[in-house]
C-alpha cells in the first residue's frame, strides 16, 4: 500500500516510519501537529476535533494522490485524530517518503497545508470560560 489515510481516536507517532519506509527511499519527512498550551496568550485546556468522516477520507486520498504524482513519492501517510486532545498531544501526522530529500520536504509541507485547507475537520478550542470554533469567523 502506497497510501495510508486514516482518521483515528489516538495517533501513534511511533509507527509512522515503518509505514513510510521503502527500499527506494533515501528521505522521509514527517510533520506532527500538536496541541499548544497557549494561543494568543490564552491558556488552552483542550482541542476538540470533529469530522465528516467519509468526505474527509476522500479529500485526504486526493491530497495523497496529488502529492504522489507531483513528487514521485514512494509512500504517503495522512492521519488525523478526532475527539478531545490535551496539551502536547498529537492531532495530525503527515509524511512523505522519496528517493531524495527535496521531494519529501516539499511534499510533506504540501500535505499539511492542503489538509488544513480542504479536509472537512473542525477544531474547537476549549478555554477555561469559553469554547471557540477555530477560523469560523473572519
Amino acid at each position: 500500500m502506497k497510501i495510508v489515510v486514516e482518521i483515528v481516536d489516538v495517533i501513534d507517532t511511533a509507527k509512522v516510519y515503518t509505514e513510510l519506509n521503502h527500499v527506494e527511499s533515501g528521505g522521509i519527512c514527517v510533520f506532527v501537529g500538536t496541541v499548544r498550551e497557549f494561543t494568543n496568550q490564552e491558556q488552552v485546556i483542550a482541542l476538540e476535533f470533529e469530522t465528516y468522516r467519509d468526505m474527509a477520507l476522500k479529500e485526504m486520498e486526493k491530497i495523497a494522490d496529488t502529492a504522489i504524482e507531483k513528487w514521485n513519492l514512494n509512500k504517503v501517510v495522512l492521519r488525523h485524530a478526532v475527539g478531545e486532545k490535551g496539551v502536547a498531544e498529537p492531532v495530525v501526522i503527515v509524511g512523505a517518503s522519496s528517493a531524495h530529500r527535496d521531494a519529501c520536504f516539499e511534499a510533506c509541507r504540501f500535505l499539511i497545508d492542503t489538509l488544513k485547507e480542504t479536509v472537512p475537520i473542525w477544531k474547537k478550542e476549549k478555554f477555561k470560560n469559553k469554547s471557540v470554533w477555530v477560523s469560523a469567523h473572519p
Binding site: 465528516y52 488525523h80 495530525v92 489538509l115 485547507e117 472537512p120 474547537k124
Partner: protein
C-alpha cells in the same frame, strides 16, 4: 432530503441533521439551499465561508440536488 451539519453549523441550527420532509420546500440547487439556510439562520452570514458537499464532494452553487443525495453543510474547516 437530508442535510448534515458539522462544527459551528451544527451549533447554529442546533442539530446535526435536518430532514426536509416537505417535497414542495426542497431547494433544487446548492445555491437555493444556501439561500434557505441563511434565511432561516442568519448566523450563517457571519461565517468566513460556507460550502456545501453533495455525496461527500465539494459542490458548486449550480449543482442540482436530488432526494437521494447526501448533502452536508461545510463551515470553514480547521483541521491540523
Amino acid at each position: 432530503m437530508n442535510v448534515l451539519f458539522f462544527g459551528i453549523a451544527k451549533d447554529i441550527v442546533g442539530s446535526s441533521e435536518i430532514l426536509f420532509s416537505d417535497e414542495e420546500a426542497k431547494p433544487a440547487t446548492v445555491a437555493a439551499l444556501k439561500k434557505d439556510l441563511i434565511k432561516n439562520y442568519p448566523e450563517f452570514l457571519k461565517l468566513k465561508t460556507l460550502a456545501v458537499a453533495v455525496n461527500s464532494e465539494y459542490a458548486n452553487d449550480d449543482v442540482t440536488l436530488s432526494g437521494n443525495d447526501e448533502i452536508a453543510i461545510i463551515p470553514p474547516v480547521s483541521g491540523g
